[in-house]
């Protein structure tokens, strides 16, 4: 036990905050992520992360908490995407080449200027790759409230999102406002990306969103089990990541902890790869080999 939890782990204030905030954000990201993967919107999640990077570095430049930068730019980008219909494949190509490149270019400028003025080179690292141990306690209520809002949105929309994923036409014929539901979901996605950016960085936020969900979809068949599994994987990755990051303070080069986001992302990717070791083949391979014929079922 002693060697797993290094001295001071349980009494450290930053560790407490990291565990509490990390857990809530991991659950939110994982649950939102299951719908992101199901709806085929991983790309939208990634775009929002890139644009959130710009927001975070802009916030740093003007001296406000980075979370507000992530949130404002993410939500603005989500609204813009909804307006021009970026979810559709054709819109994506243009956006990838132009908007995202420009966003990261701006982020580079903001980070350069910010670090020039304040000579805190650590800020670039925090924005890009996150740092759970420097979450200020004053932002905790805002983080928790945003997480609960995103989570509540997705829970309320769960069934209509699944029906729309199955067939937007059926959903529309049954009176679901498909477009409005998609827009509300995109907002929840933007909030969730902003939250993930706080703990593992803007560039890596997609990992916490997509990784646990993609892993869960490989092992759980139904929607409820998939959501619970994804949340479990996300929380486990955050907890183990925090413990390892704390312990790494005593690892070489001694006196400097390794970044939490490194551990979290590595654990998530490791978990995903583990699903490929299962004996049964992935569903996709089975479906591909199967002829489009069924055994004759006698019409009952």
């Amino acid at each position: 036990m002693r060697y797993i939890f290094e001295p001071g782990f349980f009494s450290s204030g930053p560790v407490h905050i990291a565990l509490a905030v990390g857990t809530v954000i991991a659950v939110t990201s994982a649950v939102v992520g299951v719908f992101t993967v199901t709806r085929g919107q991983s790309f939208a999640g990634h775009s929002l992360a890139d644009i959130a990077t710009t927001g975070g570095s802009g916030a740093f430049l003007i001296g406000i908490n980075q979370f507000w930068g992530y949130l404002a730019f993410g939500a603005g980008a989500a609204a813009f995407m909804e307006m021009i219909g970026i979810q559709r494949r054709r819109g994506r190509d243009v956006a990838t080449g132009v908007v995202l490149g420009a966003a990261l270019g701006l982020a580079a400028l903001f980070l350069y200027l910010g670090t020039e003025f304040s000579s805190t080179t650590g800020a670039s690292f925090t924005i890009l790759f996150g740092s759970m141990f420097v979450i200020t306690s004053s932002t905790v209520p805002a983080l928790l409230a945003s997480a609960l809002l995103a989570l509540a949105t997705v829970v309320v929309l769960a069934r209509v999102l699944l029906l729309s994923s199955l067939s937007p036409d059926i959903a529309a014929a049954r009176g679901v406002p498909v477009r409005a539901v998609g827009a509300a979901y995109l907002m929840a996605l933007a909030v969730s990306v902003a939250l993930a950016a706080v703990i593992i960085g803007a560039v890596l936020s997609t990992a916490l969103l997509i990784g646990p969900a993609a892993t869960a979809l490989r092992v759980a068949k139904g929607p409820v089990l998939a959501i619970v599994t994804a949340a479990g994987i996300g929380v486990a990755a955050i907890w183990i990541g925090i413990v390892l990051a704390y312990d790494s303070f005593y690892w070489p080069p001694s006196g400097r902890g390794w970044p939490v986001s490194f551990f979290v992302v590595t654990l998530i990717v490791g978990g995903y790869l583990l699903t490929y070791l299962r004996r049964d083949r992935p569903a996709a391979a089975v479906a591909a080999e199967r002829p489009d014929a069924e055994q004759v079922c006698s019409p009952a």
């Binding site: 199955l166 067939s167 036409d169 529309a172 014929a173 679901v176 479906a287 014929a293 069924e294």
Partner: protein
């Protein structure tokens, strides 16, 4: 004869400024099995979307039970053209059927035994109970069709619309689906409106036919409509109707335009 369940009256449809349909009228009655037949691209899907309220009309009216259709009409069940469901979509067959009850509602629902039994009942009715716990994305085309029919049926619709449910199915799946639908129409009194580019698999069960071509429709009993004079008038060009071993081939003259040639091609698929 019972009252009309569905009535289209002088319906016109314009898409992108082009008139797709002009003055289309027909009725559907309870328990009738109607085939919506026509070549690919004739507008069968558009007509189904009009009935569903997904496609606005430029003229005429769509009446359900004599009243303009409501925004959401629970009396119509819909099975769209073959869905592209990824195998990693976290929906088992029973989840899909369950979404047929309340997939349009907000909030969450706790599992219930009554719901489970209702889902099992629907899966049995379409012969899909064997794969109730499989992911729907892992099923074959015919199996997915059965599941989507159960999904549409569970809300107890009085009219079931199916868009090309027999496309890309092997013969045994095709016969299985047709007999399930015929039984539903006969036993449950559900009106079935099914679109297909080939009428032959439907010949034994079809009460009436709505033949779509050139932006118009010909409606009536199958033997009335599938006649060279009627279809030639509809296509605006001479077509022959050849009956061989109980099968029907609609064949255009060799100098026919692409449109008619396509119809002939569809009918010529050898079984």
């Amino acid at each position: 004869m019972s009252a009309d369940l569905l009535r289209l009256d002088g319906v016109g449809v314009r898409l992108g400024g082009r008139e797709i349909f002009h003055d289309v009228s027909f009725t559907i009655r309870a328990g009738e099995f109607t085939g919506l037949i026509g070549p690919n691209g004739a507008g069968k899907t558009t007509l189904l979307r009009v009935i569903l309220g997904l496609q606005p009309v430029s003229a005429g009216s769509v009446l359900i039970d004599g009243a303009p259709r409501a925004h959401r009409d629970a009396s119509i069940g819909y099975v769209p053209q073959k869905l592209s469901i990824e195998p990693d979509m976290p929906l088992r067959v029973r989840d899909v059927v369950s979404l047929g009850v309340d997939g349009h509602k907000f909030g969450i629902r706790l599992p219930s035994r009554a719901r489970r039994e209702l889902v099992d009942e629907m899966l049995t009715a379409v012969g899909a109970q064997r794969y109730a716990n499989s992911r729907v994305g892992e099923l074959s085309g015919g199996e997915q069709q059965r599941v989507m029919i159960a999904h549409a049926l569970i809300s107890r619709p009085r009219l079931l619309l199916l868009d090309e449910p027999l496309a890309n199915l092997d013969i045994s799946s095709e016969q299985g689906i047709v007999s399930v639908l015929a039984r539903l129409a006969r036993a449950e009194g559900i009106a079935v409106l099914l679109s297909a580019h080939d009428m032959n698999p439907l010949m034994p069960v079809m009460d009436r036919i709505i033949y779509v071509a050139s932006g118009r429709v010909a409606v009536g009993r199958t033997d009335e409509v599938v006649q060279p004079e009627v279809l030639s008038r509809l296509y605006g060009q001479h077509v022959d109707v050849i009956r061989v071993h109980g099968r029907v081939l609609v064949v255009a003259a060799p100098d026919g335009t692409d449109h008619e040639a396509a119809a002939a091609e569809d009918a010529e698929i050898v079984r």
